[in-house]
Symmetry: C2
Amino acid sequence: MTNTDTTGLTRRDGDTPEKLRALADDAQRAAVAAELKAALDGPYAEARDAARALIDAKGLRADDTLPLDEARERTMSQLFDVLSTGSPRGSFRKDHGGTEDIGATLASLETVGGADLSLMVKAGVQWGLWGGAVENLGTDRHIPLIKDIMELRVPGSFGMTERGHGSDVQSLETTAVYDRATGEFVIHTPTPMAEKWYIGNAAKDATKAAVFCQLYTPAGDYEEPADASVPGSWGETHGVHCLVVDLRDAEGRVLPDVHVGDHMYKGGLKGVDNGTLRFDHVRVPRENLLNRFADVSEAGEYSSPIESDGARFFTMLGALIRGRITVGASAGSAARTSLAIATKYANKRRQFAADDSLPESKLIEHRKHRLRLIPLIAKSYALQTASNKLISRLNELETSIPDRTNMTKEQSADQRELEAHAAALKAANTTHATRTIQECREACGGAGYMAENLLTTFKDDSDVFTTFEGDNVVMIQLAAKELLTGFSREMGNLGPLEIVRFGLDNFGTLLKRRTAAEKIIQNLVDSVTDRETTSLFDPAYQVELLTEREDRLLMSLIRRIRPARKMSTEAAAALVDSCQDHMLSCAWAHVDRIVLETLLETESALPDSQAKKIMEQIRDVYVLDIINGNSGWYQEQNLLNGARTKAARAALNDLVDSLGPWSETLVDAFAVPASVLDVPLLEDVSDPTALTFRSVTNPAAGM
Amino acid sequence: MTNTDTTGLTRRDGDTPEKLRALADDAQRAAVAAELKAALDGPYAEARDAARALIDAKGLRADDTLPLDEARERTMSQLFDVLSTGSPRGSFRKDHGGTEDIGATLASLETVGGADLSLMVKAGVQWGLWGGAVENLGTDRHIPLIKDIMELRVPGSFGMTERGHGSDVQSLETTAVYDRATGEFVIHTPTPMAEKWYIGNAAKDATKAAVFCQLYTPAGDYEEPADASVPGSWGETHGVHCLVVDLRDAEGRVLPDVHVGDHMYKGGLKGVDNGTLRFDHVRVPRENLLNRFADVSEAGEYSSPIESDGARFFTMLGALIRGRITVGASAGSAARTSLAIATKYANKRRQFAADDSLPESKLIEHRKHRLRLIPLIAKSYALQTASNKLISRLNELETSIPDRTNMTKEQSADQRELEAHAAALKAANTTHATRTIQECREACGGAGYMAENLLTTFKDDSDVFTTFEGDNVVMIQLAAKELLTGFSREMGNLGPLEIVRFGLDNFGTLLKRRTAAEKIIQNLVDSVTDRETTSLFDPAYQVELLTEREDRLLMSLIRRIRPARKMSTEAAAALVDSCQDHMLSCAWAHVDRIVLETLLETESALPDSQAKKIMEQIRDVYVLDIINGNSGWYQEQNLLNGARTKAARAALNDLVDSLGPWSETLVDAFAVPASVLDVPLLEDVSDPTALTFRSVTNPAAGM
């Protein structure tokens, strides 16, 4: 695919995007927006629309200005509004009283996230994390509890993260030790670093928690070791397991020996009561162990259908990936709301005349402003198609493998790929959201900084998404790890170092898996005949450019780390660590490629129309933005010469010019609820008598 | 300077940085930190240390968790603490009761910004903007007022920005019309877009304001036009002028016909009471015109030593650039505090063992983590040297040109260059701060999101710095404009379009001005003998690489926009707009180069020592990070081939490895006050009995 043209002076044929048709009237624009909306809403349009209607009806919009207690109470009470739609029941099985429609539940929650991330997080903690843990790690004996959780009768917490162990959850320190004499587990926090931190719902509302602990079943009688804070003092752990622990009594009083701390103020998410948990030898009945993947008999015998502690733990985590998917999708949703606000403002606000003889321009009429917003809009489109795909695949997989202890090799690979994509897209969506909301805030100038215009609230609330439910650096590394192992179950439980030292012998057969887009993509790639003159707008060539980047980065990564196999542990660890950046680049290249594929798939499903033409240019912007961002690498690799990378830059400029007049239609397709867009920034000020102040300290005189 | 080596397989001699000496003991480290601190504090070490002592003594640290009213009251009362050091008096002339030490004032304010940006902004509004306007635009008749402002007896506002006119201040709409019959000016807000918005101090504390208005002196009697909202209804404006207007009476009651709005909650800066101002035919005495650059006689005759309205207005603005300088410097200061927190955390926090046989690593022991933090630390070093230089030059210039109406050609060029550098560094420092504080927040994981650890507060508070005191896009364009005109006074008042159409005939003589570093830099560049084998660590080669980028971008920009001279206004405007991105790249390249020069200057002043070796590597990191970020461009231009850009990437990796063990020393040199670093994130938890909660809802049982 090396490009040998070196003249570099003229852009070649086909390197200019077709200008979009002149502006249609309002009705035609609305029709285009509706078509694009349908493409973006994907299979869960109904659930999304129901959530939008709820947001408008109940005024579920973030409010960053409330005092802490009020914000928390508001969010808690809004959970009942969310429940009234029935959408939370979709993540529970029918025989548990649910509706088994996880896709609709996640799409609904994602939509709520576009209005208020506090509410989305609080709902995610209650039904996704807390409810999800009991539903997916528990068994029939936990069904009554599941029903209480589903119907919001038992608010609860998900007690995984510890102060000393955020991303490295296999090393959690909280202990659960079985006492044969009483048939109870003793839950204990042995060190300061073992305190459960940042736990949602814990500071105020949770009455129970799913607590992740190292599980011990001592052979003899329960006898406290001399120093419980010394690792290994309880003997051999069975690894991390999850137990239900009561936190508060019916009157909301914290129980004895449970110590709750309140994180109070955070960077955002004021409506979520995050807290800390410390357990001082708290006893819970044996039945509180969520025993789907492992159990302890009354006599204290441990049993599990999965032999390896690591494999068992990762199977448990695998059953909980919906949280990660929701976090990514909701961040994407917040980014779309922000883009809608900033883009509508840019189509409204006038400033600076180039010359006294000319009228002041709208912000969007400046190319620089288009270059700020439109590539971010394109990326939002692309990521949403990938998110939809991910949710659909989760839906399929959850239906096809009810019993995770007995997966076929193919199912296992599907599951691992799903996990890898969930991790990668979580990182991609949340990184995109942080960057996008910041850019939107700045693109609205001083008005963007006023809390009433919502952008700073979305910024504050979404900020933690880059680090919670898995730090993005760890998430993207996880994706890289799966790439290195070809999604094979056998190696999935190994750390990066172990993979390098024990798992990299099958380089030759490294599995290159494709998403379901495979056929469309393969047909496309086959259609490329002459690579040296192919246009940068050719979708097949675009796929090749992104695929080649992923492949080359992966292969060169393997070449770099392979020598580690023959090194000492220390030396191997140092080598792997020195390649961390390379590993991350590789995973990002992977994300870029799979996202392009879902975008193409969505595009190909559209009928020939104005909307499809727009979608094609959205895809061009998405790809050319990536190529521009990696133009150094493409030249180093002789995949593109300088003339081509310059052409790519010029083409991006042309594309934002073409899409500029359609920019408001592009964000209308996000279908942000009207009540969310009702911000002062977008109000009409053409009426000269509208000398309104948002908050007036002195309407007449004297204050 | 084209590099013709194309083998690209091995790194050439000299392309590996020397590893820094093994770690010294604590005393030696402290000595190195002290030497680096002296280099960074520059000529204003004393003022900075005094501010640090004040911060520790009075506990002047940001607190984002206070209710709005309390936060505002706290900040207002802290202004008196700042005044107690005397530092605000430095920005006033001795014959006005000041101490004429603007450099010390700015350095002190910058240091305060590293502890609390609300306080820095409130102080900046009071003494820098409000005081600065009266001091620099007023005359002897305003001296009593100046003394009241200086001593905080008259809190005031700076009423420039309007709802419809943020960056485009020449188009302000508020009118000041002279009434000969009474000898008064009538101040009026003719349209909703003419309301003064975002005005600091206005919502609560200001008793007066410096209000920027279009000035009119009707030939006949004062007679209200049929519709004052129609531009031109008052005849010809003299352009924008500044007048003092009373807002509140002695009891703090807003005066009749003045309407004050309260912006209440913003993205941050809770301690600053931003508000809106609307004037309904408010009358002020003729003497309230700040008449240094223009006056109106009792009879209503307008006079000014500067003929052109544009030139006069830019002269006024030129007298006010200290605000812009402070904003940039303070953002830099907030970035340094954040880096100190994140870097100390990274040297403390352990997580993940590569293998069970190895201990958990400190975050800083991962190369990826070093790559996240160390290039930002290096950039902070570089920008601080540039900031120091800027402050010194301001100090010199203010002393050498007391009368701005009569500058020599050389002084005028100096002034314009200073303005361009102030604008460019404002953009560079604030962009850097936004990126850096975000990265620091994320690098601290969940802990970084807790308000008590300050990072989210700095993020929220500094965020608006990218858009206030001039939006960064506008600022960096201003710098580009000055580059295009070679800092010539004649063209300084032209808009970008006018420059292109009327001012670009002197391409050939385009002035390439150098900072005072000139000689050092020239000697360096002369020492480069063989460009084809020169090491990337050679400072002369580094200067050439950055200079060449600036020059080529400037020349190609000129080539692109030159045809506009023969076009219609519309076509020329469109062409210039389409080059906006190019213009910005050019200005960023300019910033990168001038910052490298000040960094080199600072480095060259250090004695041969460990500190100097560290400083050299800081500079290498600064340059290589820029080269990596522009590797596509350098290859397109044949200035570096792919082998060299790869080597640059590898070299950056080596450098962060070399500097990693010194990272804590690097941030110790920022000398962040101990009380600011006293955050829970950095507390010692090695004591297992220290099971502390920051805020406990249930110390024993029951809540």
